[in-house]
């Protein structure tokens, strides 16, 4: 019983943590779409015509998924989105490092700063593991007592 309790608590804490990370990450991008579009452009992966739409929508996906993950609305759907996004971020970061791109990641701050590199890959990978854990362990209706 105690184990389950701790288990649920852990999942809940992870949800809070991931949720806040994603909400925080979305904010600056929502405020500065043009700068974020530029950051996306610098990765030289997406074709130019879709970059702006992507840059407009992605931050809102991050915000809503993060918010929902915390609030327990569409919890597993949010976890699926966050896990998928992190997976994509890791792949893109690996490609960028492999291609030797010297670019800002545009992760938390569109004004630059963080560079795409090994450290970013490790961080995103850790987050990916955590969110994958939430995705497979979160049982939807069962954890409701802990989440309130």
């Amino acid at each position: 019983m105690k184990r389950i309790f701790e288990h649920r608590l852990m999942i809940f804490v992870l949800r809070l943590f991931l949720g806040f990370v994603f909400i925080y990450a979305s904010w600056d991008k929502i405020l500065h779409p043009a700068q974020f579009a530029q950051a996306v452009y610098n990765y030289k992966i997406l074709p130019a015509p879709v970059i702006n739409l992507f840059a407009l929508i992605l931050p809102w996906v991050e915000l809503i998924a993060g918010l929902f993950l915390i609030l327990g609305i569409y919890t597993r759907g949010s976890a699926l989105i966050i896990t998928s996004l992190l997976f994509i971020f890791v792949v893109v970061a690996v490609i960028s490092v492999y291609r030797n791109l010297d670019i800002s990641c545009g992760c938390f701050n569109t004004a630059g700063g963080r560079k795409v590199g090994i450290q970013l890959i490790l961080e995103d990978s850790s987050l990916l593991l955590l969110s994958f854990w939430v995705l497979i362990k979160e049982k939807g209706s069962r954890g409701n007592k802990m989440s309130e």
Binding site: A37, Y41, A48, N52, L56, G72, I73, T75, G140
Partner: protein, 176 residues
């Protein structure tokens, strides 16, 4: 998928939508985000175009800080352009745009000290960085590094060395 132990009411209160299939939940979130993302861009003042013109985002850097071959040559002729070769020291030694200064991008930190006094920092001058051509990234990177260093009038000549040579413009060639 779900256990039915908690009453339906509790389930609904604390896990809204948990009965929907997970991919469907995800899809709803993405649709909601699309609405908000597109909607907010429609009403905000600093909106960006949904589909950028070729000269917008894809060419954003180019539009802002690029010089064409013709512009580069004009600056070269008038003496109002300062050319910096972003390629390796080796490539520079083999041949470069006449009077260009070597500042290999990958060795920026070590070399900037000897070059910085040469770089004009006045609005009448522009500093033109170049590397081999369109596909190389050294000029782009060097431009950012120089800007990070405080220089303002940096332009990238994307055509680079290849275009310059092809046009038959003045070079300094020591390979022969």
């Amino acid at each position: 998928m779900e256990k039915e132990k908690p009453t339906r009411k509790v389930v609904l209160r604390s896990y809204v939508g948990s009965r929907l299939a997970v991919p469907l939940q995800a899809l709803i979130i993405i649709l909601l985000a699309s609405l908000l993302g597109i909607g907010s861009n429609l009403i905000r003042k600093d909106r960006i175009p949904f589909i950028p013109q070729p000269s917008d985002v894809s060419g954003k850097e180019k539009a802002d800080n690029a010089v064409t071959l013709a512009e580069a040559k004009e600056r070269f002729d008038s003496g109002m352009g300062f050319f910096i070769d972003a390629r390796s020291a080796d490539a520079y030694r083999k041949g470069h745009i006449l009077n260009a200064v070597s500042l290999p991008e990958e060795d920026f930190e070590n070399r900037i000290a000897e070059v910085k006094d040469l770089i004009p920092d006045s609005s009448e001058f522009i500093v033109i960085v170049y590397c081999d051509g369109e596909e190389c990234e050294a000029s782009d990177k060097l431009e950012k590094k120089l800007e990070g260093y405080g220089y303002k009038n940096i332009r990238v000549f994307f055509g680079g060395w290849n275009e310059w040579v092809k046009a038959g413009y003045p070079i300094e060639d020591r390979s022969e």
